[in-house]
Symmetry: C2
Subunit: 200 residues, 2 copies
């Protein structure tokens, strides 16, 4: 019996979290009111606080869920035996493409609305992002040293990798006759071939 | 005498336009008040209307100035003799990199705030963007046919090209020890090598 209650409460929270991601994305964090949020999940604004702490806590959840997913994926990769630097980078690009295809609301909020995080979370989030980028730069530098990756300036490459997938937002809005699988393979091939050392 | 007046008025308008781009970028179009704008150029809110029509007109100017710059550049390229498809695409990527390096406020407003345009301008802006992307797709298809470009799905490639430069926003905020020239060459090389047909 307690388990059933917990599960139902979990479902309600999950519904509130996805509604928040959708609203923060569409109207911005500061443009979204608790009333909008309550309306979109079909409960009274006053009873929203039975399920969540605050609007700020919802934003935190979204931003750090995305950051955690990126970190967990990178940690797995770094521990994967037998994957060279180029293979690791391919996996990173593929992971980001899928994130933008499958979790667009959350990833857009983490990308565009993170500046509304309160301290100390804002500083923490920025720190996580810097460290994530530096770890990818380290993989690039390793690959350049080994000869599998062209000698490009790593910071510029990481910026390009992280941003290249943002066009997926337009794909969601418009031409779905290009399949997700096709989009994924086009982006991965273009980027991976751009960094591969063909003289290597 | 009339010329001098015109020039001074032109300077004032230019100052208002750049303050608007900066504010719309930082606070969003809907988050920016006429009072903020007047304050940032040091005039009374009431006298702002001696220089401009409305906040909506300022947004229109920014969005269509960017759209016009892109269209003018593409038209020049299409008319340039002796440039093959890969050369044209390289010029397009380089143009976008410079736009994001040199005109960040305007380009971010045109990218993130265009949805606040009123009709019929919103529809017009979307139409311009679609046509711009299709003309680039046509250059890609031509290059694929000629063998200079790898047979990738053109829509996905255009999305990737247009988005890849967006990371330049982070460069502006942080590590300026990577020079603009280095950033430009890294991005152009990575992307152009990603679409070049090395079997060609």
């Amino acid at each position: 019996m307690p388990r059933k209650v917990r599960t139902r409460e979990g479902g309600r929270r999950e519904a509130i979290a996805s509604a928040a991601a959708r609203l923060f994305r569409e109207k911005g964090f500061s443009g979204t009111g608790m009333r909008d949020l309550a309306g979109s999940v079909g409960i009274e604004a006053a009873s929203l606080y039975n399920h969540i702490d605050s609007k700020a806590a919802l934003l935190r959840d979204i931003c750090f869920r995305i950051a955690d997913a990126c970190n967990a994926h990178l940690r797995e990769l770094e521990a994967a035996p037998g994957l060279d630097s180029l293979g690791q980078l391919e996996a990173i690009v593929r992971f980001h493409v899928r994130l933008w295809i499958e979790r667009l609301d959350e990833v857009l909020v983490a990308t565009n609305e993170f500046r509304s995080l309160e301290e100390p979370w804002l500083e923490h989030f920025l720190q996580e992002r810097r460290m994530y980028m530096r770890r990818i730069e380290a993989i690039l530098s390793q690959g350049i040293q080994e000869g599998s990756i062209r000698p490009l300036e790593p910071y510029g490459v990481v910026l390009t990798l992280m941003s290249a997938v943002r066009g997926i937002e337009f794909w969601h809005r418009s031409r779905k006759h290009v399949s997700a699988a096709s989009l994924e393979s086009t982006m991965v091939e273009l980027i991976v071939d751009g960094i591969r050392n063909s003289q290597g």
